[in-house]
Symmetry: C2
Subunit: 199 residues, 2 copies
């Protein structure tokens, strides 16, 4: 016997979360043991109420207090441009730039054979339905420039090409702000050269 | 507005935990949003019940289902040897070796002026009381070999030296199992030389 079962149970619960191993979970639980009960209760309530008050938008699959969400409901947003992202956090960070007035579509992940995520498990069918039913003019693929993101981009490009008159774009690739050419990797530099812009 | 307030609230709760920054907290919350409600409820209950069912032992300050804890209550444990540790996890890992039959004293941290932790804030007074009242023969200081652990060891050694006939020891220092001499740091090697053992 290592810890009392109540403590071990909470350690196991924390260890189920992504990027939290058993050691970190132990540390979190002992941290909580030293906190006052009212703080723990607040934390517990916040978890319990999470899904009750938050709805998933049936158009873009964003999480919001309303369905459709505040973006899909906003008449000022351009419904003919859909920006496709993998996770709700990606949408949030794009929104933070304040430079996009279209709508989003959250896939809920990327196609990833290594993690057994097939095209059927993410919201691709729903994206196709949106394209079919509405006057969509452009799809922006805002997926990570990594293996899973590239796989998903290629898959989606093939699929959307079937529809005539829909422009498919992806986020630009090149040097990030503050980068140092000396330390840039070859693929980034290659992309920066290929996509160079006239001034 | 970035996230609905229910989501933001839980992100803030997670971000209060040690070693979880706002970005990791976001990731944890969105992970939970994709889990079924019963899992969330289990998690929430585990947090809420934590402190209700777990007691802090008034002798050694271990967390247990009983007070005194299962170690202090065990008549087979040698009450004349007290092993002083900083955290409950340190006690658990020593217990796992199965090679110690004495009792423990959990300080609840180390003296650390940089983090404003003074001797009054950890269970030093209580340790002195234990030494005064019982037939304690040996105090083993099992604190980390770092700045805070060393400070606490020095402080405790001075304090306990006042009591005659109490042996004060600390955990051995030297090469860990599997170490490579070529890559060992100088202080570890110095300790390994100083504390060398005759075979």
């Amino acid at each position: 016997m290592k810890y009392p079962s109540i403590i071990q149970n909470l350690i196991d619960q924390f260890a189920k979360l992504p990027s939290i191993g058993p050691k970190s979970a132990e540390r979190l639980v002992f941290h909580l043991l030293y906190r006052p009960q009212n703080e723990l209760h607040e934390f517990s309530q916040a978890i319990d109420y999470l899904k009750g008050s938050v709805k998933q938008c049936q158009i873009c699959f964003n999480f919001s207090e309303s369905n459709p969400c505040y973006i899909c409901n906003n008449i000022k947003r351009n419904k003919t441009i859909i920006c496709v992202v993998a996770k709700p956090q990606d949408m949030a960070i794009l929104e933070k730039t304040g430079s996009f007035d279209g709508t989003y579509h959250i896939l809920g992940g990327n196609i990833n054979p290594l993690e057994n995520i097939s095209p059927q498990q993410i919201k691709i069918k729903e994206l196709v339905e949106r394209i079919k039913n509405n006057g969509v003019k452009e799809i922006i693929l805002a997926l990570n420039p990594d293996m899973a993101g590239e796989t998903t981009s290629i898959y989606l490009t093939k699929l959307i090409k079937q529809f005539p008159n829909i422009k498919i774009t992806r986020l630009a690739r090149g040097l990030p702000m503050g980068a140092d050419l000396e330390y840039a990797d070859e693929i980034t530099l290659e992309n920066a050269l290929k996509d160079r812009r006239e001034l």
